[in-house]
Amino acid sequence: MLLYDQRYRSITIQIFALFLLMLGAAWLIDNVISNLRLLGRTFSFNFLSQTSGYDINQRPIEYDSTMTHGRAALVGFLNTIILAIMGCALATVLGVLAGVLRLSNNWIISRLVTFYVEIFRNIPTLIWILIFGAVMAESMPAPSAFRGDDATSSMIFDAIAITNRGVYVPAVLFVTDLGYLTLGPVAPSLNWLLVIAVIVASLFANKALITHATRVQNATGIRPKTWWKSILILLVPVGAVFIALGAYLEYPELRGFNFAGGVHLRNSFLAMWLGLGIYTGAFIAEIVRGGILAISKGQTEAAFALGLQPGKTMRLVILPQAMRVIIPPLISQYLNLTKNTSLGLAVGYMDLRSTLGGITINQPGRELEGMLLLMAIYLAISLTISGLMNVYNSRVKLKER
């Protein structure tokens, strides 16, 4: 009998277990089918092409209530991505800063940073999001406070207005409009694509410059000065593009009920961004601190013995090694932050969960299809992030031979 043969036992049991699992899955699917029949519904994603009928306040792409549910879901998806990228950036900056400062010799600042890390790490992120939402809505002046001669509030540098409906900052607009690039459902502005292309090109040019400098250093032992060349390469082309396109700043101004013009960072966005960014920053601070502490003191001493200055020791010896310890947990923090963007509904941020997983599910009542699609999209985002970060991780990983 197969069960008693050592060679086949494992396979037999596995096949048996797999069979049970498949039976379970079949049972679930059968239930779904019979439930759907009982409710008189069909399984279809047609609702995505129906008119949504609701408005979304934060629209990275063109959208209004006459467009489809699919389009609304796309808007939500883009909002999720924007929040995730901005949140990760804020969390990284804060986390690295706090992680390094917590190791500082300055007693008062290390205590202050410890306080920040502990208080944010130990209180649920949902509470922080609600608190930031409440702070924005309750403590900031209403737009009406900016009105009239006896205004109680005024704009910072006449350019930034902080109100209880969000923060208005100047927007960059162009005189010359190159039009739009139509890419299926999204139509990015060619002006901005050009700017991004120039920035990327500058970055590559700068990298080439540094590689060249390193080569010169390796050959001659003297590193050519590159900082002013770098600045030129990074700033001049972008500046030139901005001037050529006739870039100018549009300042927000009070019109009607609200400020108009400029970029409106809504309360919901700010609450999510600050809440998630600062919360995750506390975790990243601990990761960074742990990473730096994990490098043994001998490394620093060896670097000093070689005559490296403290700054170079940090940059050339400690950080490259610390990065290896830091990156894997950092990836999971980025993933956590991205998944936590789904709390947006708590403050009314119109992310994927609030559009596709909220209003859209609720209006045509297609919760089965909607939730499955929602989970699939989140899964795809997560897998993409962890895939990208794993590629990076394997590049910096210690090459063991």
Binding site: L3, R9, S10, I11, I13, Q14, I15, A17, L18, L21, L28, N31, V32, S34, N35, L36, L38, L101, S104, N105, N106, W107, I108, I109, L112, E118, I119, R121, N122, I123, P124, T125, L126, I127, L130, I131, A134, E138, L335, K339, N340, S342, L343, L345, A346, R353, G357, I361, E367, L368, M371, L374, M375, Y378, L379, S382, L383
Partner: protein, 432 residues
């Protein structure tokens, strides 16, 4: 020589000077401050900025906290007492803290959740302190049933008949072990399942009608506040540990068919937000179960949270397994232990020990994530704070509630994280 000096050279000292104090800047508080706060211009600037931040925070929060009102019956009353001055209105907490802690649990039964929590520490003691006799582990094993009975009440025979299922499994295992190892494992799985399906119900109803013993039944919808967070958090973490171990072993193994399944489950659960899983509980679960009324929402949430935590637990334990030197596995093989014996006696005790800080961290994360149940309409502390804010008396209050809820979470999580750091330090010595 000294004699000559003493007599001949008048300007040479011939006795020791009394030791003088070190310069001010090199001692005591001044030295400490110079070294730690003002060692350079950058440091000085940071110190000043920090002081400014602290002063700003204290001056804006201090008066508000010091002026707190603790006795008013409504926000309007509070404002009347404050009479225009800034001040917190913590009366909302004194008024409603029972609700924030226990939800709508019947007040005369508050002793039951409290006793459950106290018993939790008793049950955890044998797990946490290896010095205690091993026999006490039986208490830990019994705890889930005692805890269930204390919290929900009802007939005492129900948890007993469920618990007997495990006994049935154990007996089946012991009996069949004499026949065959594999058969015994099947018996251990099938025994309880058959017991629960066919015997438990009868025994329960027979015994309850013959000898109606038990506590007053409390329905799930009376549960709320921190009670619900604790129930979900603690049951989620304790149930997820065994599942997590199995998933981790499956992922580490070389089983052709089951390994991909484990990887798929772990990656799927880790890839989606908890909130979508919770929404499945309230929106989709009914599609996946046979037509008919769904079972209790808290139970559903516990199941979902357990699944969620299992995936994270599996990764923590996989880390622990990976950290074990390969020699341990080889040593176990060399002793001729089979897979399960090797796991039970050699691998798992060490791997789990290494993973304890990770497990505690997962628990803290899970406990904080219990706040998400507010989205599916369970009245956890945040849900209750919404309900309180909807009340006419307390319309417009929020800081005080957030501070109270945040403080409770902080105390709990901070305590846990300190404990995990203590464990980390304690365990470190074993490996270096």
């Amino acid at each position: 020589m000294s004699d000559t000096h003493a007599n001949t050279v008048a300007y040479v000292r011939n006795e020791m000077l009394p030791p003088s104090d070190a310069p001010r800047s090199q001692t005591g508080a001044v030295k400490w401050m110079l070294e730690n706060l003002f060692s350079g211009w950058a440091n000085t600037a940071m110190t000043l900025i920090s002081l400014l931040v602290i002063w700003w925070a204290l001056s804006s929060v201090g008066p508000w906290l010091l002026n707190s009102v603790w006795t008013a019956g409504s926000l309007a009353e509070c404002r009347a007492i404050l009479d225009g001055a800034t001040g917190a209105c913590f009366s909302v907490i004194t008024n409603r803290w029972h609700q924030l802690l226990f939800g709508f649990y019947p007040p005369h039964l508050y002793w039951r959740p409290v006793l459950t929590l106290v018993l939790l520490f008793v049950a955890l003691a044998p797990v946490l302190f290896p010095a205690l006799p091993r026999k006490l582990l039986v208490l830990s094993a019994l705890y889930p049933f005692v805890g269930y009975h204390l919290l929900w009440g009802g007939s005492v025979w129900f948890p007993i008949s469920v618990a007997l299922g495990f006994v049935a499994g154990f007996v089946a295992y012991k009996l069949l072990l004499k026949v065959n190892n594999l058969l015994a494992i099947f018996g251990a799985i099938l025994g309880p399942v058959l017991w629960w399906m066919f015997v438990a119900g009868q025994i329960d109803s027979a015994l309850s009608s013959a000898l109606p013993l038990g506590l007053e039944f409390v329905r799930s919808d009376r549960f709320g506040g921190f009670l619900i967070s604790l129930i979900i958090g603690i049951s989620g973490i304790s149930l997820s540990l065994p599942i997590g171990i199995l998933l981790a072993l499956g992922r580490q193994s070389d089983m052709v068919f089951l390994k991909p399944v484990c990887v798929l489950v772990i990656e799927f659960i880790r890839g989606v937000p908890l909130i979508t899983l919770l929404f499945n509980d309230s929106l989709l679960l009914n599609y996946f179960l046979p037509p008919g009324p769904a079972f209790d929402l808290i139970l559903r949430v516990i199941i979902m949270v357990t699944l969620f935590a299992s995936a994270y637990m599996a990764e923590v334990i996989r880390g622990g397994l990976a950290a074990l030197p390969k020699g341990q596995y080889e040593a176990a093989d060399a002793l001729g232990l089979d897979y399960w014996k090797a796991q039970r006696l050699i691998i798992m005790p060490q791997a789990l020990k290494i993973s304890i800080p990770g497990i505690v961290n997962t628990f803290i994360g899970l406990f904080k994530d219990t706040t998400l149940v507010v989205f599916i309409g369970l009245l956890d502390p945040i849900g209750l704070s919404n309900a309180i804010r909807a009340d006419t008396n307390w319309n417009g209050i929020y800081w005080e509630l957030f501070i109270f809820i945040g403080a409770l979470f902080f105390i709990f999580c901070f305590g846990m994280s300190r404990y995990s750091m203590y464990l980390e330090r304690k365990l470190k010595t074993d490996h270096r």
